[in-house]
Subunit: 222 residues, 2 copies
DNA sequence: CAGTGGTCTAGACCACATT
DNA sequence: ATGTGGTCTAGACCACTGA
């Protein structure tokens, strides 16, 4: 019972994903013409579904030969270090502060503009993964948002809806965060700074994350 | 005079890229139907070209309104730190060595398997950018390749033709490389380790790059 | 030779925006 | 009412592969 009928090619994608799960890497799937017959759709529609799955790394094509299941170890996972499903976040504090020069630049607002700053930790299986500083421009937030701080920071949703720019800086763990990350003073770490923007390029969020190198590895596959 | 006639949609992409360069962000381009008329092609072909440019971050679409030029500051640039066109590479040495345990694991070969190791620097405008260690499995290389070491390491080509996995490790710059990178002993840096695989998942190249933090910033946009 | 992916056409209908 | 992007069809030709 679909509330709204999904486009056909989306349904085909879902069917194919299911089918791929039961196949081995490098095993061929149905040819595009077979798919068209099988789902009773045109070949262009079948092809559109396959296009999407190739693009997402589930399948690969060889011209004149066929379409094959990609090796699962070659997942495509753009951007970011991995976040486990059951990561536990704990807000250490949040506060409204005037922007200093650095933050004002990142968020493209004037110095002294009011900023909502949240500092939190992320734990997984009791181990500290990251220490995050999160900065919002207060005037872009509704009072509702501020009341529900914990809900505001749905980073995954933000990432999907925005353009994200991330920079990676090597540094020695800041003195005040070594204890919270449970790592030795003087440990070299990576600080990931993310700026999220809407489609017009206006920054909406600045995110500075200190990674525990014993717990988190940044990894990019394509 | 084309040696081989390019597909129409590729030509349209090139035309559109040229046109986009002369437009401002958020300025609309021709509608898909107009494009089809203008280039005397079918709408589906025009759409395919636009699809590609949207995917690469040159354009964005708003349903029922049109297609617009994306803000240039929001380029899509997957994977890797930026490499300038006129980066100068200098091979410090190359040698055939037996694989130690670490390298053998990365390249999925036996310990003692023969490996071609290259150490090189990358300079840009006289400044050292990175110190790279590059490892090939010798038996996968032709003697021709080995004769032309400088040509072997066309990394960009490798990346486009392979599946790349990159990991980022924070560390203190290794003693022996601090001088070559012209940075102080004890400086925290990022070490990028890349493994390139063919479509069957077989590793073909291991690449370990020590980044000069004063020169190179890792940056990811989506 | 039949089958594959890659490209391309000339239409079509839909839901939604703007005027 | 018109125009937009989003989807979809039922064909077509090409270059190439492998039996």
């Amino acid at each position: 019972m679909n509330e709204i009928e999904k486009p056909v090619y989306i349904q085909v994608i879902e069917n194919l994903k299911e089918e791929i799960m039961h196949k081995c890497p490098n095993e061929p799937i149905m040819s595009e013409r077979e798919l068209a017959l099988h789902f009773n759709i045109s070949r262009m529609t079948a092809r559109k579904a396959v296009d999407a799955l190739v693009n997402d790394g589930y399948l690969y094509r060889i011209k004149n030969k066929g379409t094959f299941v990609a090796d699962k170890t070659l997942y495509k996972s753009n951007t970011l270090y991995e976040e486990h499903e059951d990561t536990v976040y704990k807000n250490l504090y949040f506060n409204v502060i005037p922007a200093d020069k650095e933050i004002a630049e990142k968020l493209n607002v004037k110095v002294e503009e009011l900023i909502l700053k949240i500092v939190r930790t992320a734990h997984y299986k009791g181990q500290p993964q990251t220490l995050d500083e999160i900065y919002f421009v207060k005037k872009y937030l509704s009072s509702d948002d501020i009341a529900n701080i914990s809900k505001v920071v749905d980073i995954k949703k933000c990432i999907n809806e925005s353009v994200v720019e991330q920079r990676f800086y090597p540094m020695i763990v800041p003195f005040k965060y070594a204890v919270l990350l449970e790592i030795a003073q003087g440990t070299p770490i990576i600080n990931v700074q993310s700026i999220m923007r809407n489609h017009l390029g206006v920054p909406t969020l600045f995110f500075s994350s200190y990674l525990n190198p014993h717990q988190v590895t940044i990894q990019i596959k394509n």
